[in-house]
């Protein structure tokens, strides 16, 4: 028995099944990210000091532009199918897929940068901050700078810190050191949780888009209308991923 309204919309709602399904799913996603944004607000307002200028704004801006461009190519891919231009669809979807990879590549670079960036508390009370250049047995070499204390590192836009230089620190002088990973402080925990969950959505969306671009596109020959619906539904998810980033970018990178 065929499932009704897989392709043709129900007469009363004017919607096919998958479209109702994706909107219900997106509604649950709004609440998921809403809960995380709510946690962010509570943690930020409750924090005595909040880091500013810790993330690379040009890279964040580039990633925003990448996602926005991928959104337009997704919608263009769908419009191409509506105009029966399968070749154009393939090109636009290939661009979307490439842009998803570019986004993840930039994000990976940013994550790597944070995991190799260390705050080192010295026994004399000073704090060294920078990227590990050499991790020796007796000493550590970083490309960074000294700060009076860790509060000096919080607002990198306002406070003038000395420029980066290569600093050699004997291990015997180190009281504590931690990378700027999720466990560093509340801000990095929030940053990695929100962007990590978002990146998982990008990966999921890219897998679906990749499937529909390659093996899944065979359906165009047998059932073009159903295939077009699938592209519309996957596109709705992709636009939602873009929409979430539109809020994540200013909240984490700029404010």
């Amino acid at each position: 028995m065929d499932i009704p309204h897989v392709v043709q919309p129900r007469p009363d709602t004017g919607l096919y099944n998958a479209k109702v399904g994706i909107w219900l799913f997106l509604a649950s996603e709004v609440m998921l990210f809403g809960a995380l944004f709510s946690a962010y607000i509570l943690l930020r307002v409750g924090a005595p000091e909040w880091p500013y200028g810790w993330l690379n704004v040009p890279l964040g801006t580039a990633n925003t532009l990448v996602l926005i461009t991928s959104s337009i190519t997704t919608v263009m891919a769908w419009a191409s199918l509506k105009m029966k231009q399968f070749g154009r669809f393939k090109i636009f979807h290939a661009i979307t897929l490439s842009l998803a990879c570019v986004f993840l590549g930039i994000k990976s670079y940013e994550y790597h940068d944070k995991f190799t960036h260390y705050e080192i508390d010295l026994k004399d009370g000073r704090v060294a901050d920078g990227h590990i250049v050499e991790n020796g047995k007796d000493e550590i070499v970083i490309s960074g700078r000294f700060a009076k204390d860790r509060h000096d590192l919080y607002d990198l836009h306002e406070r003038k810190l000395p420029p980066h230089q290569e600093i050699t620190i004997p291990r015997a002088q180190i009281a504590e050191m931690s990378s700027y990973g999720p466990g560093h402080n509340t801000y990095t925990a929030v940053y990695f949780t929100l962007t990590g969950l978002h990146a998982l959505h990008v990966i999921g969306g890219a897998i679906v888009i990749g499937y529909l671009w390659s093996f899944g596109s065979k359906m165009w020959q047998t059932d073009p209308e159903r295939f077009t619906n699938r592209i519309e539904v996957s596109g709705l998810f992709w636009h939602f991923v873009d929409l979430i980033w539109i809020f994540l970018f200013p909240v984490l990178y700029l404010l």
Binding site: L15, A27, T61, L65, I68, G235, L243, P250, L255
Partner: protein, 106 residues
Amino acid sequence: MNAPAHDEHFSQHVRRYLYVFYALLFGTLITVGASYIPFGNRSVNIGVALFIACGKAFLVAGYFMHLISERKMIYGIMTFTAFFFLGLMFLTVGSFADFPPLTITH
């Protein structure tokens, strides 16, 4: 709708998508630029950035996701979602005015 009229209809859509795309690019640059303007209070910067983000979100949801011309049922789903989302935010913000006695605040 015959084939040429159908294609013309979607060509108009494509033009609209491109305008939205340019607006989103412009909005992104404005967001970054505005974050460097010293308004005197960080909360003003936050307000400006979120206002621009809301405008961009409206463009993406309204035009790319076609919410501006969707069916009633989708509006119904999104109305419920918006209600609960705003309720969540209201509870979050409302909690700031509801500290138990002797709470240490910053």
